[in-house]
């Protein structure tokens, strides 16, 4: 995953939440598998489960999936889920959004890039 350090470095130089126009680093095909195995017990694309539905999450305001019962912290956060914001959240969710219910971490930067590429590829939010 040679892009991951580049993105990480670029991110450090920019204010949090700034949009960065970089080629996607991850592989969405690998990301689909990873998503199923790592995120799939709590999340799915179209159903709110233990965690909120994910289709269209990239670019969405945090805590805005209709019908899901978020933590007060997530609802109140001003995060918008850019790829960089998701990357940060997955490293340590409770550090980025203190009070969030999600404790799951994905330590491997390459795997994070793959999952984010997959999420980015999944179209718009389907409201049920």
């Amino acid at each position: 995953m040679k892009w991951a350090p580049v993105i990480a470095a670029a991110f450090l130089l920019l204010p949090a939440g700034a949009a960065i126009a970089l080629a996607p680093a991850g592989d969405a095909v690998r990301g689909a598998q990873l998503y199923k195995a790592r995120c799939g017990s709590c999340h799915s694309l179209d159903a709110n489960r233990v965690g909120p539905a994910h289709r269209g999450v990239v670019g969405r305001k945090a805590g805005s999936m209709a019908g899901y019962s978020y933590s007060p912290a997530m609802r109140a956060s001003r995060v918008v889920w850019s790829p960089q914001a998701i990357d940060r959240y997955l490293q340590n969710p409770q550090q980025m959004v203190p009070g969030t219910k999600m404790g799951f971490r994905l330590a491997d930067p390459g795997q994070r890039a793959d999952v984010i590429a997959y999420l980015q590829q999944q179209g718009r939010t389907v409201r049920k």
């Binding site: 017990s41 489960r49 233990v50 340590n92 009070g99 219910k101 404790g103 799951f104 971490r105 994905l106």
Partner: protein, 195 residues
């Protein structure tokens, strides 16, 4: 105290799954230590963080219990797979009881299960047509659960709670292995099957 009595009752109710009950008691026996450990040094917010993580895990266990129930009642499972499903469901009930006990001990309120109709919709049960479909759903669930437990471990304030999650993850991993064998699928050759 009432918690302990209540959990004992739950355990007695689930008698017949002897092994499970022993495991659950061992975890519950750690509770006062868990409660001390969780808040240690990090104050109230760390404890609340631990409660939140345990409650998310409890949500997974509720889902698994209901999914196995739906599977068992579907008429799609034949023996010995049906027996396996019932045993695994018993393990998930043991996990549920241990997690609920830990949450109460930390001063939190355990989340309730959703309705069966909710699970049927969110798990896409309508698409399930035969025994292999049921096994594949269970296999995916157990893999995801093992990975979820492993992935939340570094976020705990209390190390003892991480150990409880490791115990549960090991159960989910063995479920995954047995389901994979029942499906006749090969075991991956690379190391780190989970996590």
């Amino acid at each position: 105290m009432t918690d302990i009595i209540a959990s004992r009752r739950t355990l007695i109710r689930s008698a017949g799954t002897g092994l499970l009950s022993v495991a659950a008691i061992a975890i519950l026996g750690d509770m006062p230590a868990l409660a001390r450990e969780a808040g240690k040094g990090n104050g109230v917010s760390a404890r609340q963080g631990d409660i939140d993580i345990l409650n998310v895990a409890l949500g997974l266990e509720h889902e698994a219990i209901e999914a196995y129930q739906i599977g068992a009642e579907s008429g799609l499972l034949q023996k010995p797979v049906l027996d396996l499903a019932v045993i695994f469901q018993g393990h998930h009930k043991g996990h549920r009881d241990a997690l609920s006990g830990a949450i109460r001990q930390l001063g939190g309120a355990p989340v309730e299960a959703h309705s069966r109709a909710d699970y049927i919709e969110s798990l896409g049960i309508a698409a399930i047509k035969n025994q292999a479909d049921v096994l594949k759903l269970a296999q995916a669930h157990e893999l995801g659960a093992a990975n979820a437990y492993i992935g939340v471990m570094p976020s705990f304030g209390g190390k003892e709670l991480a150990q409880v999650c490791a115990k549960i993850a090991a159960d989910e991993a063995s479920h995954w292995s047995l389901l994979t064998a029942a499906l006749g699928e090969p075991i991956p050759s690379a190391a780190f099957l989970f996590g």
